[in-house]
């Protein structure tokens, strides 16, 4: 019931904020097509809330320029996503498209935005094609390239001295990319790879295989509910103490930790951001987010916030001109003069981030499970596809 009221109030506040924004200057329209329903809905929710937090900090402005943020739910369905973006472009005439969570939506909507000549700034999904061959001058990614956190897991596993790894992923593209990313930087031996059905719930059979294979560590990329199920069952089977669990940050966000409880203890994960990163921007973000939403932000919320801050910096530089001064706005985005909550941040030539990566460990603190940074595993990391991109 409290949730219900919150939702109601939240949307009302948003509505008022938007109404206030329109006085002085024609606001810059930002279209946010994101995933709010289905099991992956909390990802989109956090991206949206992180983004709107930044807008609210400036009372409906970004970089001193009034903005109007249109948020719509794609339901993780590319067909719906396409319709929404079509409407954003034709009717609402947005200047910037952002918000996409999943990699089955971005290849559909990003080309639409680019063809239309507006800017596409991703707060999450970043498939390899757009980092390499298909990179585009108006296409920016604030989060990471899809492989990045898996690569970091490979580095982390190597640094922690693991020699024998077993890998697990769903039998689909992102799963295979994840394992490829891990293997790119892992120096030990991969003793087995298990592919499971997308959306699988019960992992008894796989866990038995892992028990029999006796790996030193397991790397898995099971998105959303799949990962929660797997972790619970893995820990119940008593395997956590025999084979360490190394995952990319997606599989150990705060929501997932809350859902698996004590079973999560000791999981090693990678991320470009964590709440205990000590910088002013992060402090401000955490304070604002916790007080406004009364919950812990996930890395997705941090990415939404960073996306808004990047846009703010560029708007400030061009004085609110986006489509009127595309070259100027593009240059301003490229220089990325904003204080990222992750600290060190700049764009590579393919307009994907160059940033530092960390490994974290799950610990229990004040009765709450949380990630604690163990160490930095990469400084100024950039993705593997940048060479294929023609932009300089």
């Amino acid at each position: 019931m409290k949730k219900l009221l919150q939702t109601l109030l939240g949307t009302l506040v948003l509505g008022l904020g938007l109404a206030n924004a329109g006085f002085t200057q024609e606001p810059v329209k930002i279209g946010m097509v994101t995933t709010l329903s289905t099991g992956g809905g909390y990802l989109g929710q956090d991206v949206r809330d992180g983004f709107l937090l930044a807008v609210e900090e400036e009372d409906g402005k970004l970089g001193g320029v009034p903005v109007e943020v249109l948020v719509e739910d794609d339901g993780r369905n590319p067909v719906n996503g396409r319709q929404i973006v079509k409407r954003f472009l034709d009717r609402d005439r947005i200047s910037i498209l952002t918000g996409v969570i999943f990699s089955n939506i971005s290849p559909v909507v990003a080309p639409m935005a680019l063809k239309d000549g507006i800017f596409y700034i991703s707060p999450n999904s970043a498939p390899s094609t757009f980092a390499g061959k298909e990179c585009h001058e108006n296409y920016f990614v604030v989060s990471w390239q899809n492989d990045t956190l898996h690569e970091a897991a490979g580095m982390g596993a190597t640094e922690l001295g693991y020699k024998k790894a077993l890998l697990l992923a769903p039998n689909y593209q992102a799963g295979k990319d994840a394992l490829a990313g891990f293997k790119r930087f892992f120096k030990g031996e991969v003793i087995d790879e298990i592919y499971v059905k997308l959306g699988q719930n019960d992992y008894a059979a796989e866990i038995a295989r892992i028990r029999a294979a006796k790996p030193e560590m397991v790397f898995q990329f099971l998105p959303g509910g799949m990962g929660i199920n797997f972790l619970k069952q893995y820990s119940q089977a008593g395997l956590m103490k025999d084979s360490a669990m190394v995952v990319s940050g997606f599989s150990a966000d705060i929501k997932i930790l809350n859902a698996i409880g004590d079973a999560g203890s000791g999981i090693i994960s990678t991320s470009q951001w964590n709440h205990d990163l000590d910088n002013a921007a992060n402090q401000q973000f955490l304070l604002g987010f916790r007080s406004k939403f009364e919950r812990e932000p996930t890395l997705y919320a941090s990415q939404g916030y960073d996306t808004a801050k990047l846009i703010a910096s560029a708007l400030k530089a061009t004085g609110g001109k986006v489509l009127e001064d595309k070259a100027g706005f593009r240059e301003a985005l490229k220089t990325a003069k904003f204080a990222s909550v992750r600290g060190n941040f700049r764009f590579a030539s393919n307009q994907h981030p160059i940033h530092d990566l960390y490994i974290r460990e799950v610990v229990k603190k004040n009765g709450q499970m949380q990630n604690r940074i163990l160490r930095k595993v990469a400084t100024d990391h950039q993705d593997a596809y940048v060479q294929e991109c023609g932009l300089r």
Partner: protein, 342 residues
């Protein structure tokens, strides 16, 4: 019965001709994106129409019809991908030529429907519902595991839509006209089909299969041919859908998509001509505009959770609106006859 059906056909033809002008109307409204929405509606209406051949005419409730839409969609997608990558598929080069890949999509969907139908049609009733679902699920997982063609993420048409001489499909209006014409032709074809000897057998099949056997007509081959025709038309709609989206993914084959198609048919009026089209229009408009509507009138809770309204609406239609929208629209016009426009 004859008079009123003819009236309905003339009405459809008239409205169809008027709809050619819709893009200009959308311009006048200054809402050009509506053209794209409308194309999508015609494409889904075509799929619903093909499903109606099975459900409404032959009395075969297929719960896996999105499989054939998906197969047709993938044929166009895969051919375009090979063209882009300049590779071969089973020794054949890829292509972006619409007049090759769209008919090819129909043929492949038809062949798949032939294989699946040959097996499914050995069962009836609830078993038929379930076995068609089973085959659709198999195809869904097949495409999910099809790594070369993007697996779960799907496949983009990197070079844009198909090329058809004299048409520029990259332009949304021309895509719209192609979809509308395809729907019109399919409707015309199905109407002729329904009035032919073959159609008589299908209608008879739905009404009384036992009797049909007793007059010496074996139902199986007729059902199979109907299944193949429905599959091929679904393939056409899939081919258009890929073109419209410039993208194809296993999501096109998900079992809930089959459910959506069934809803369109029922919502519009099962076994009628305008039914599937009305159903597609209302279903897709609700899906797209219900959230916006609630936002406009200030019911923010429902704008995010519009399914809370949509679900009961669906139940209400099933429970209380027998004959669907078709009955609602045409009953007044036709008087008593309308109740029996089969």
């Amino acid at each position: 019965m004859m008079v009123s059906e003819n009236f309905e056909a003339r009405l459809m033809l008239g409205v169809g001709i008027l709809l050619i002008g819709f893009p200009w109307f959308a311009d006048w409204l200054d809402e050009p994106y509506l053209v794209s929405t409308a194309s999508r509606i015609w494409i889904y209406a075509l799929a619903a129409m093909s499903l109606n051949l099975l459900v409404g005419f032959a009395g075969l409730v297929s719960f896996g019809h999105s499989a054939y839409v998906g197969v047709g969609a993938y044929v166009v997608g895969i051919l375009a991908w090979h063209q882009y990558e300049e590779t071969n598929f089973l020794g054949l080069p890829g292509t972006l030529e619409g007049f090759i890949s769209i008919p090819f999509a129909m043929i492949v969907s038809g062949i798949v429907a032939l294989g699946i139908g040959a097996l499914c049609l050995r069962t009836r009733g609830i078993y038929f519902i379930m076995i068609t679902l089973a085959f659709a699920q198999m195809l869904f997982y097949f495409f999910v595991s099809l790594e070369q063609y993007g697996g779960d993420d799907g496949l983009m048409m990197m070079d844009g839509r198909n090329k058809i001489p004299g048409l520029d499909l990259g332009e949304d209006r021309q895509m719209y006209w192609l979809s509308l014409v395809a729907l019109g032709l399919a409707t015309w074809f199905l109407r002729r089909l329904s009035m032919s000897r073959f159609g008589m057998v299908l209608h008879a099949l739905r009404q009384n299969e036992t009797r049909l056997k007793a007059i010496g007509v074996p139902p199986y081959p007729y059902m199979l041919v109907a299944f193949v025709i429905a599959g091929a038309l679904a393939g056409l709609s899939g081919a258009l859908l890929t073109n419209h989206m410039e993208f194809v993914s296993p999501d096109f084959l998900h079992w809930t998509r089959s459910g959506d198609l069934l809803i369109m048919v029922i919502l519009g009026g099962i076994g009628t001509w305008t039914g599937p089209i009305l159903g597609a229009i209302v279903f897709l408009l609700l899906e797209e505009f219900l959230p916006l509507l609630f936002q406009e009138i200030g019911l923010y809770l429902f704008s995010e959770h519009w399914r809370l309204v949509f679900g009961p609406l669906l139940i209400g239609i099933v429970l209380f609106a027998k004959g669907g929208l078709h009955a609602l629209v045409f009953k007044q016009m036709k008087g008593v006859d309308g109740a029996f426009a089969n």
